[in-house]
């Protein structure tokens, strides 16, 4: 990182992109739920990283700095999207019902689609802590550094977020399992 910072080293920047483009893209998808948009966001994030490389403090971790830029960019994008679609939102419903993606075919696909949709219905902070903790496998201390919040607060946020997603998911998965036929008729040969 210091090579990018000190001399705008193109090769060092290329290596940074290679190392981090997939994790940053994954985070963008989890935050926005849109793989194509996440691709654009990832590109914009690395543009920001390049232009802001001189602001990077050598005493901090590159990963923390990158995650923070990525998250802030995702938050900005979510706010822009929310403003655009505000009139279409149902204000009375905190957790609108989940629609399964048309490509959800197998039971596993359907469950994944339900979990993805449930994650996207959580408040931003809940989605963030769950994505960083359980999808990216970061430690509490790392999340605390990225979000600049005490570890105890992160612990509480994760607990709240787990409660939220479980309350959304469990009933839907129960209904989903109940509606699935238990015995398939045997094929007549």
């Amino acid at each position: 990182m210091w090579r990018v910072q000190s001399s705008g080293d193109a090769e060092a920047f290329a290596r940074l992109v290679q190392r981090w483009q997939d994790p940053i893209h994954r985070l963008c998808v989890r935050m926005t739920g849109d793989a194509a948009r996440a691709e654009d966001l990832t590109q914009e994030i690395f543009t920001k990283v390049f232009t802001r490389s001189k602001h990077f403090r050598p005493d901090s971790k590159v990963s923390t700095w990158l995650w923070r830029i990525a998250l802030n960019h995702c938050y900005d994008e979510l706010r822009r999207t929310k403003r655009r679609s505000e009139s279409a939102l149902d204000e009375d419903s905190d957790f609108p019902s989940v629609e399964l993606a048309p490509d959800a075919q197998t039971a596993s696909d359907e469950e994944c689609a339900l979990v993805r949709a449930s994650l996207l219905r959580l408040p931003e902070i809940s989605r963030t802590v769950l994505a960083l903790r359980y999808c990216e496998g970061l430690k509490l201390r790392e999340i605390s550094e990225i979000l600049e919040l005490p570890e105890s607060t992160i612990h509480s946020r994760i607990a709240v977020a787990l409660g939220q997603i479980t309350r959304i998911l469990e009933p839907q998965l129960r209904d989903h399992d109940a509606s699935r036929p238990k015995h398939f008729p045997q094929a007549v040969l």
Binding site: G8, A10, A14, A36, F50, V115, A159, L162, T166, E170
Partner: protein
């Protein structure tokens, strides 16, 4: 059972930090035990959650690296263009940006010559953008000079017309003299 575990206590339990009082509570409270199990299931689902894979948008794109280099360089070009004609230190900003770009190109070329990883597309793109940047600068400067010349001619024309109008007005007020 009235006093159920808090969310934090449940999470602590899931993360293997169960206190003695929590353990005692869980032995007696089926609700809390069930809730913790459902949280565990949620965590497992999140850990094994699959998302759509990254798909390159343009098949013709030479390499992903080139895309990033182009994006970064476009920002440099835009910054150069804006900085050149806005801030009070436009000349300094221009010189800084040019130095940055030259250092970057020189560093990358040196590494290329020393047998490092093949980053030819990025370097080529940077060189191309550098040329584009110079061409843009020349074009912008020409446009500005044309604009300045046109504006100057129009100002002179307007001044002449105003002078003529003033003279005519003076004459019509005092036709005898």
């Amino acid at each position: 059972m009235n006093n159920h575990l808090t969310d934090e206590e449940r999470l602590a339990c899931i993360e293997g930090r169960t206190s003695k009082s929590t353990a005692q509570h869980l032995e007696q409270c089926a609700d809390c035990a069930a809730e913790i199990e459902s949280w565990r299931r949620s965590i497992q689902r999140l850990e094994h959650l699959e998302w759509p894979a990254r798909t390159p948008r343009r098949a013709a794109a030479p390499t992903p690296l080139l895309k990033w280099a182009l994006a970064a360089s476009i920002v440099l070009c835009v910054g150069f263009g804006l900085g050149r004609f806005t801030g009070p230190n436009a000349a300094e900003i221009k010189a800084d940006l040019a130095r940055d770009l030259e250092t970057k190109l020189a560093g990358a070329l040196a590494q290329k010559q020393s047998g490092a990883t093949d980053l030819t597309p990025i370097l080529a793109a940077l060189a191309e953008l550098r040329q584009q940047q110079s061409a843009n600068y020349v074009s912008l400067r020409k446009d500005l000079e044309t604009l300045a010349a046109t504006a100057d001619a129009r100002i002179q024309l307007t001044t002449r017309r105003l002078t003529e109008l003033a003279a005519n007005t003076e004459f019509s007020r005092d036709p005898i003299n």
